[in-house]
Amino acid sequence: MTGWDGFTFSFLNARVAAQYWPKIVEGLGVTVALAALIIVAGLAIGLALAVVRTLGVRPLNWLIVFAVDLFRALPPLVLIVLIYFGLPAAGIGFSGFWATWLALTCVLAAFAEEIFFGSIRAVPRGQWEAGRALGLRFHAVLTRIVLPQAIRIAVPPLTNRTIAITKGTALGSVVAVAEILGAAQSAMAFSGNPTPLMLGAVAYLVLFLPVVVAGRWVETRFAWRR
């Protein structure tokens, strides 16, 4: 076999591709589901923690800051492994899917909290003062005046961070989640051919290239104009 033929037989094998692409598409479904769950939970928890932090209860703030620092410093894979392999010994068994979800949700929540809190603090003090002067109570000032502005400031760093963390769903393959990479690796083992891995890479590109491009658009669109 010539070099090119050898290459196409290994990496662009039509027969293997036809046989295994349904599995890759299934994996794509799992990846999308996992990513969606992570984004919803992570952003909600992050925003909630940031709002709690603005209340200014000292011991609570220390707890939040400690947890946030913890989840920002730990590699996501270490968290996934800890939850999946470690917790069962304490009686709590998480499946690969939910272990990955929990780990990545905690990580996204930590980063989101930092970003949201920073954005809330970046809203000029005058906005708070004006709200109070108009007779609005704390929660009203927060939800009607400050948060809408804060969220707009938060959007660019948040989109970047969210994309980075949802790519972490690939780490689920290490704990046997049947997402794209996991499905591709199984197919590769069964067929003895790396074409499924190429299919998997294409699936990731199909999934994330639009997201990355959209993220870039969102950043320019929501640029905080002074």
Partner: protein, 224 residues
């Protein structure tokens, strides 16, 4: 409670596992010292290239950068480590890891540095040229220092991400910290090594997280 301590904070297992965990930590540091400069160099090269106007250069370059930002690093690593041998190229774990990080983190650094370069007013370069500075000095003395200062939080943040990313090297059996922790865990049937490894990661990286937080807040405050 004592069962919890036994499972996660077992002193005996921790003591026994410490030697190989320490070796793993050294490997992680070695990996970080390898991948961060590689990523920065690749990123700088890509960023400088992306300032050129030629369309035949820009479009393939932007496509490449977006591709390497869109592919999860683990996928790229597996592709290079397990896939390339089928094409006759065997990089081995270190080669695969080095190439993966160069491409992936290089793409991220390239975007950050490009944003930094674009944030420096054009007038700076014009003034420098008007003063007679050669092109290479315009870049190294005028533009790049300001560019880096503008995006310092993002650079620090990305570097932190790269160091955390070294943990994926455990998947290709590189004996870094997470790999050693999992080995110790499977041998002792006890989760303590992983907890100790997590603590080691935390202790090592926490100062940088604080630094990053400080830089980010400074930047957000300056904007407001």
């Amino acid at each position: 409670m004592s069962e919890f301590l036994d499972t996660f904070l077992n002193a005996e297992v921790a003591l026994a596992a410490t030697p190989i965990l320490w070796l793993g930590l050294l490997q992680t540091v070695k990996l970080a010292l390898l991948t961060v400069p590689l990523g920065l160099a690749a990123g700088l090269a890509f960023a400088l290239l992306s300032t050129r106007r030629e369309p035949w250069l820009r479009w393939p370059l932007m496509a490449a950068i977006d591709t390497f930002r869109a592919i999860p690093p683990l996928v790229l690593l597996i592709l290079l480590y397990a896939g390339l041998p089928f094409a006759g190229i065997d990089l081995g774990p270190w080669g695969a890891v080095a190439l993966t990080f160069t491409l992936n983190t290089g793409a991220y650094y390239a975007e950050i540095l490009r944003a930094g370069i674009e944030s420096v007013p054009v007038g700076q370069a014009e003034a420098a040229r008007a003063l007679g500075l050669r092109r290479r000095y315009v870049w190294s003395f005028v533009i790049l220092p300001q560019a880096v200062r503008n995006v310092l939080p993002d650079l620090v943040g990305n570097t932190l991400e790269v160091v955390k990313l070294t943990s994926i090297a455990s998947v290709v059996a590189l004996p870094e910290l997470l790999f050693q922790a999992r080995q110790a865990q499977s041998v002792t049937f006890n989760a303590t090594p992983i907890v100790v490894a997590a603590a080691a990661y935390f202790v090592t990286l926490w100062p940088f997280v604080r630094l990053l937080s400080h830089l980010e807040n400074r930047r957000l405050a300056a904007r407001a």
